[in-house]
């Protein structure tokens, strides 16, 4: 098994390392969304709350800072139980 003790994790939820993100950039990713699709960084429980900024800074050099856009914001803001979404307003 590989020794992971030296790995730097950028996305903790999905356990994506700095190295994997650099690979994704080499593979052609130039956006947060492109990195997310290639590595799953930002797809986990916190939806990129921590890693978004770190990855943005890794993209500087590939893109102008003003051209690094946040990924599309979507519901829900925090994890929420399905039961909560369907409560009330029963027709």
């Amino acid at each position: 098994m590989a020794d992971n003790s030296e790995k730097i994790y950028i996305c903790r939820c999905e356990e994506v390392s700095k190295e994997e993100i650099e690979e994704a950039i080499k593979d052609g990713a130039t956006t947060l969304s492109g990195i997310k699709k290639r590595t799953h960084a930002g797809m986990g429980l916190c939806q990129g709350r921590t890693c978004r900024k770190l990855i943005s800074s890794m993209l500087v050099g590939v893109k102008e800072p003003t051209e690094i856009f946040p990924p599309t914001a979507r519901t829900p803001v925090r994890t929420a139980k399905i039961g909560e979404f369907i409560k009330g307003e029963e027709e």
Binding site: T30, K37, G44, T72, R74, G83, F85
Partner: protein, 388 residues
């Protein structure tokens, strides 16, 4: 200065990259133009079900069966993970009326060679625990499968690149270059590129590209909203649809009179669980132009429908929603082939919700038509000129 390649493919989604891979395998010099990135359109905002059972018996199911054969061993062939599994699939049946429709649907599918059966409630609940009490039974096929659509798209792109395909990301085609009714290249935000042949594989955007050649193509964007849960231990055992989805897809007139919001939004259950444990819950089918946002009523109706059929889902947390645009066509079949009126222009778009399932076979058909002038099955029903 412009560069020249034999073939230019417009669109880096699952269809464009599959065609690029198949053409490169046949020794063609291919350049692929993608306006954003791979998996930026429908290929990156869909669920992971590869349903054979949901296909109309006929050319539609034949294509899906041929594609299913290609999925076996595809991961090794492409050399990147795609999370392909044949877990089997069920279509939940809620009423005797739906049972009648599904019985005739299943009988016709069997004739074409699909292994599928109708099973009663007691057997269905063994395959998928947690079914609501009113569910009377389901269909079941061991041939339905799952694949990670984003990984499939990226795996095709990587394999194509390895074979020499020049993939240009963030390269948007703004015009087609045409001379004497023949396409001779494309104009992009990064300059002009010449080619003998141009493939339009731009999915829901295919009508815009076709319009650059003065052609009218009846492909319309249709939105599908999907909900993603937190990872949980395996709870969804199979790919799951509801018969209502099949009725909505093939007998929409039966639902026309309904005034329910869910029906208006085209809600039909589509469920599966990823390798990591996230449950994907879909979906709507809405004509809202190119709007990819999620709507409150869409999310609510999808979840109401899913929990109505599988109540224990109420206790799972959701972490994300998605909205994607699928390329609708009037007869539910894609447009694959050379267009009439403009030489050197090839269409491969309009798969709506079947793009992932049909990506392998579409790549093969397109490459065969382009290099040999003939495909391994009769593709006349996919003729892109059939609506003229």
């Amino acid at each position: 200065m412009s560069q020249k390649s034999e073939i230019i493919i417009i669109g880096g989604g699952v269809i464009g990259t599959s065609i690029a891979y198949q053409l490169a395998k046949r020794g063609k010099k291919v350049t692929l133009m993608e306006s954003h990135d791979h998996a930026s359109g429908a290929s990156g905002s869909c669920d992971q079900n590869i349903f054979l059972q949901s296909k109309n018996p006929g050319i539609h199911l034949e294509l899906a069966l041929a594609s299913a054969k290609m999925f076996d061993g595809l991961e090794e062939e492409l050399g990147s993970p795609i999370e392909y599994h044949r877990r089997g699939g069920m279509i939940l049946i809620e009423s005797p009326a739906e049972m009648e429709i599904m019985k005739s649907f299943v009988a016709r599918q069997k004739q074409i060679g699909l292994e599928v059966d109708i099973i009663g409630r007691s057997e269905a609940i063994k395959l998928q625990p947690g079914l609501a009490e009113h569910i009377v039974g389901s269909t079941y096929s061991t041939m339905d499968a799952e694949v990670n659509p984003i990984e499939l798209n990226i795996a095709y792109a990587r394999a194509a690149r390895k074979l020499g395909v020049d993939i240009k990301l963030e390269t948007a085609v703004t015009d087609l270059m045409i001379s004497n009714n023949r396409v001779i290249g494309v104009v992009t935000n990064k300059g002009e590129f010449q080619a003998d042949l141009v493939v339009n594989a731009t999915g829901a955007w295919a009508a815009q590209i076709a319009a650059m050649a003065g052609l009218q193509v009846p492909i319309k964007p249709r939105r599908g909203q999907i909900i993603i849960t937190e990872p949980v231990p395996r709870f969804i055992k199979k790919g799951i649809l509801s018969a209502q989805y099949i009725v909505a897809k093939y007998n929409p007139q039966l639902l026309e009179k309904s005034s329910s919001l869910g029906v208006k939004l085209g809600v039909g259950l589509s469920l599966s669980q990823t390798d990591k444990g996230n449950i994907l819950i879909g979906a709507t089918r809405e004509f809202v132009g190119y709007d990819t946002t999620n709507s409150r009523e869409g999310i609510r109706e999808i979840l109401k429908n899913a929990t109505r059929l599988i109540p224990p889902l109420q206790n799972v947390n959701i972490i994300r929603t998605m909205g994607g645009i699928r390329p609708y066509t009037p007869d539910g079949l894609p447009l694959v082939g050379f267009v009439k009126g403009i030489d050197g222009l090839f269409m491969a778009a309009g798969h709506e919700g079947d793009g992932i399932a049909l990506a392998p076979v579409t790549g093969r058909i397109a490459a065969e038509l382009i290099t040999e002038g003939k495909a391994f099955i009769d593709v006349e029903p996919l003729n892109p000129n059939r609506f003229n």
